[in-house]
């Protein structure tokens, strides 16, 4: 591996990401499964680093999942997105930041389609006016939330409480990055680092002390496949693809995986559980899995946020081995508490995958 070669490619795909004033749209999957990640995106970028990020209570799903499950026509998906643009325009913003990768891909694709076929944009404007009496300006800039955090990675590093370094050996942690397919596979120039060697996540991991490992199936999809997961009969597809990735990364003994897509951390986490149940196989050390984190969770850990406030307890794969490696203190007794430290029942345990 020639590291300089990658740097050369990264240099070709640097995006100009505006520094401030963003209209934020949330992700369906992340709100359900990684609720604290979105909370800490705002807590870090807005509250701690002082960027202006606005959220309207009136925004909705972008309907991207339905669009990619083919349950709605293209014009419906476009008009739902146009409504988000209208909310942004009404709130006085020009830069849009999405929490979801598929939203990011959708917004980007829609703007690109409108550029090529202006008559379609006109039609959608008409639809939106008839349906909602709203008008919109197109965003000047669409970013994914990981782009913004990539841009702020230096500021986060300056405030770091912890480094992504193995406390006992002083070696950088081995980090696998997994980029959501819709981040840059359709439009390589819209992603930091392009489609082949994206550096949006590796840039964060390296700034915070880790070392990113490349493995043969790095670019492969996690296997979500929309209808291939949502329909129970099809989930073998999803499982098989994740399995392929884990088999490929296993020899590199990764300490953690970071992701920027809503679905990927869920699948990379839960399919490890399923593989352990079906085949008794685990990919971490000593019967544990490989912890899968969102970039906000990783940033939160680096900044010294309590792991249970970050929501690391809602992962199926135990994160404690990672916390121990870095030397992040945590209180096992607080892991499964409810609101205001209320004691509630604790989750059941998997048969095979080791948890604390």
């Amino acid at each position: 591996m020639i590291y300089q070669g990658k740097q050369k490619i990264w240099a070709d795909y640097q995006k100009e990401i505006p520094d401030n004033h963003w209209f934020y749209v949330r992700s369906c999957i992340r709100q359900n499964f990684f609720p604290a990640s979105e909370k800490y995106f705002l807590a870090i970028c807005r509250d701690q680093l002082g960027r202006d990020i606005y959220e309207s209570e009136h925004h909705t799903t972008c309907a991207g999942i339905a669009y990619h499950c083919d349950t709605i026509p293209q014009e419906t998906a476009m008009t739902v997105v146009a409504r988000q643009f209208a909310l942004m325009t009404e709130a006085g913003y020009e830069n849009l930041v999405t929490s979801c990768i598929t939203s990011f891909g959708n917004y980007t694709e829609i703007l690109e389609t409108w550029r090529q076929f202006p008559e379609l944009e006109e039609k959608v404007r008409e639809h939106l006016w008839k349906a909602c009496r709203r008008e919109f300006k197109k965003p000047k800039y669409v970013a994914h939330a990981s782009d913004l955090m990539y841009k702020l990675r230096g500021e986060i590093a300056e405030r770091a409480h912890f480094q992504l370094v193995h406390r006992a050996t002083g070696e950088p942690l081995r980090i696998v990055e997994h980029i959501g397919c819709h981040y840059s596979k359709m439009f390589p120039h819209k992603g930091v680092g392009g489609a082949e060697y994206p550096c949006v996540l590796s840039g964060m991991a390296e700034s915070w002390g880790g070392r990113v490992i490349d493995y043969p199936e790095r670019r492969h999809c996690c296997g979500f496949g929309f209808r291939q997961y949502f329909v129970k009969a099809n989930r073998g597809y999803s499982l098989s693809n994740t399995h392929k990735k884990f088999e490929s990364m296993e020899p590199y003994r990764p300490d953690a995986i970071i992701t920027n897509c809503p679905g990927c951390p869920y699948f990379l986490d839960r399919w490890q559980y399923v593989i352990s149940e079906m085949e008794g196989k685990t990919y971490g050390q000593n019967g544990y899995g490989i912890p899968v984190l969102t970039y906000e969770e990783l940033a939160g850990l680096v900044l010294g946020v309590d792991p249970w406030n970050l929501g690391l307890q809602v992962h199926q794969v135990a994160v404690e081995p990672l916390l121990d490696k870095i030397g992040i203190p945590y209180d096992p007794a607080r892991k499964y508490l409810g609101m205001d430290e209320k004691k509630i029942m604790t989750p059941g345990l998997p048969t095979s995958l080791k948890c604390f």
Partner: protein, 340 residues
């Protein structure tokens, strides 16, 4: 003005320039070879052996050198600017001198496609990925740490050719046969190695090329897989994993290789485009210089006194280039005869 001994600036002293200059000198003209590199011979001088007879490239170059030894040759010299005059051209050279001439012959050749641009193949990132040029250099020098007793070697055809995304939709014409030649040479060097060629179409149009292909199949057992390589990854031991579809079988294939050779294609030399604009000849939409007519007048530009030879108008083989060089010399001769 009738000049008994017109001066012709020949831009580029690769095989096209050398051969044309030789012919022009024989016809009684005064060619001046202008070469930006410190030596003549261009790309061919970097090559080791040539298809289909495995002729050493040095033989071709040495013969041309001998034949052009008396011709004025400016090495390590580039052209700062070219101006059109009433009866010819004035060239300002980077050595500070200027040159007045009555005709200009573009023998500017080609540039090898920068294989690093096909990011998914990992040239410049993965150690075991090299280009056709790197392999020729190894045949010449035997110096390349990356090549030692490979057990499996792959060749990727059409790297930067026939590729809209790489900005070159043209076929580079010579890569198919070059891949077969190099695959055979690898087999001769390492008889136990498995050798795979990944191709989209095999375009073996030239004299004895098809025979060469049959030889590669029957005598050397080289595997030909019809499928464009989609991506290359690096395994933990540093070898590379190549993925393609075996389209004749309709299934994805993957193979782990010790060495992967990218057949970088042929694109126009950007210097040629730059000079072309200065003398007022056009660049075609394939990026190469535009001939007056692609069938009847390939060596003529649309501007009087400006001629083309070789790969500046498109990918060419060596015999084609030499033939064009002679043809261009004859065109120039007729051009001056008509002006008498």
């Amino acid at each position: 003005m009738v000049n008994r001994n017109p001066v012709i600036a020949v831009i580029g002293a690769g095989i096209a320039g050398l051969e044309a200059a030789r012919q022009l000198a024989d016809l009684g003209y005064s060619p001046v070879l202008i070469e930006k590199e410190p030596a003549v011979g261009g790309h061919v001088a970097q090559w080791n052996r040539l298809f289909p007879d495995m002729t050493p490239a040095a033989e071709v170059i040495d013969a041309l050198k001998k034949q052009t030894a008396k011709i004025r040759t400016l090495l390590g010299t580039e052209i700062a600017s070219i101006n059109r005059l009433k009866d010819g051209f004035s060239l300002v050279l980077t050595d500070g001198t200027s040159l007045l001439c009555q005709a200009v012959l573009f023998a500017t050749g080609f540039q090898l496609f920068n294989a690093a641009k096909k990011e998914e193949y990992g040239y410049g990132i993965y150690d075991r990925v090299i280009t056709n040029r790197d392999l020729e250099a190894w045949f010449n020098t035997r110096k390349d740490m990356r090549i030692k007793q490979p057990e499996a070697v792959g060749f990727v055809h059409c790297v930067g050719s026939r590729d809209l995304k790489a900005g070159n939709t043209q076929c580079s014409k010579v890569c198919c046969i070059t891949a077969i030649k190099q695959a055979i040479e690898i087999k001769e060097e390492f008889p136990d190695a498995e050798v795979y060629c990944f191709y989209m179409d095999l375009r073996l149009f030239g004299k004895k090329y098809e025979d060469f292909y049959i030889k590669a199949q029957r005598d050397y057992g080289i595997h030909f897989i019809r499928g464009r390589v989609s991506e290359v990854g690096e395994a933990i031991d540093g070898r590379v994993v190549v993925k393609a579809e075996d389209t004749l079988n309709g299934k994805p294939v993957k193979v782990t290789l010790d060495l992967l050779v990218l057949m970088a294609g042929i694109v126009c030399n950007p210097d040629a485009q730059h000079y072309a604009r200065q003398v007022g000849v056009s660049v075609d939409d394939d990026g190469f210089l535009k001939s007056r007519d692609n069938i009847a007048a390939i060596t003529e530009s649309s501007r009087p006194g400006v001629f083309f030879a070789g790969a500046c108008t498109g990918a060419k083989t060596i015999p084609e280039t030499l033939a064009e060089a002679r043809s261009a010399a004859l065109n120039i001769h007729h051009y001056f005869n008509k002006r008498k």
